[in-house]
Symmetry: C2
Subunit: 201 residues, 2 copies
């Protein structure tokens, strides 16, 4: 998956030129996709950011669609939720995602994917797949498979809603809050869907 499928095995450990170029394209693509979304992020702009010719992008990745697929092959790097006390689970989740979103734009794959997923079906499919494969299983280790299935989507709705309003729409009331204030105010809401009060069961 990560090595060039056309090459025979090599003895040298030194990175090939083609590998560094490929990595440069991928890094530039992640930044452009994150800020502009799939449609506005042109191959030409990505190539310019990477300092190479547009035709190289096609040569290395075949098409814009395949480049996007490679750029959005994400690992959310969720912590081990089984080790977290139920009481702290909501805050841990909120803090984890907030931390990732504040980091390097080329590294916060979730925001990149979310920006494109709203208007590009291919990206939406990829996002659904990633959430199902990573968030749901991680939740299952903490609160059991049955309850994770029942509230996984609602937890996603809350966390993606937070990402949406804070980083993509930049609503003043959400974008201006500090990370810790956000954890304090939003974690109780996540708790309400993770552990439904009696009245809602």
């Amino acid at each position: 998956m990560t090595s060039n499928s056309l090459d025979a095995p090599r003895r040298s450990d030194a990175p090939r030129r083609s590998d560094t170029t490929r990595a440069a394209i991928l890094a530039a693509a992640r930044v452009r996709f994150a800020t502009d979304g799939y449609q506005r992020a042109t191959i030409r702009a990505i190539a310019a950011s990477a300092g190479i010719d547009p035709s190289m992008v096609i040569r290395y990745f075949g098409s814009k669609e395949q480049l996007f697929a490679a750029a959005t092959d994400l690992d959310l790097r969720l912590p081990d939720l089984a080790a977290v006390p139920a009481e702290e689970l909501p805050a841990v989740l909120v803090r984890h995602f907030l931390d990732r979103w504040e980091g390097d734009p080329a590294d916060d794959g979730l925001l990149m994917l979310l920006r494109s997923a709203v208007t590009t079906e291919q990206a939406a499919e990829q996002l659904r797949d990633i959430l199902a494969r990573q968030v749901a299983p991680a939740l299952a280790t903490a609160i059991g498979a049955e309850r994770a299935a029942a509230c996984g989507g609602l937890v996603s709705a809350q966390l993606l809603g937070l990402a949406l309003c804070r980083h993509l729409l930049r609503l003043p009331g959400v974008a201006a809050m500090t990370r810790e204030a956000l954890v304090e105010r939003f974690a109780p809401a996540v708790r309400a869907v993770l552990f439904p009060p009696e009245a809602a069961r």
Copy 2:
């Protein structure tokens, strides 16, 4: 705002041809913007949906940007929240938006605007403006201006997150739930940000 600024007053009450054409363009534009977003919704496609020539769209609205501005001049039609008991406020809010989103795509302006706002700054600006002018004041009548300012953004994050995951991303776990199940499970989360528990104040 709603009448053609170039016309002199007329005595007849019969709708002019230009008014029905203008309305047809606007209706078609709302559908295309809602399903495809600002960039993919082309003037050609909108004209085809309205059964007229693409050049007519420009003639009536000047440019694609101005057409979008006219199509997204929304009224969320929020109910009178001052008349709602605090206890029922979260469920009333969730149910109101769910109802609107299930309706006619050409009438659910919020979903249309949200789809474009993630990748088009003009749409994001319009959405921020609408939320600030309509949601925030309505909340203020129910829980007071001070507390509305503190939690308005968080309530928006929850409701927009729900719209995002249910109707734009169509996450299976959220899209499959019935409207009433969603109210029951999501209202407690909205309550948690509207009326913060002691631990989070």
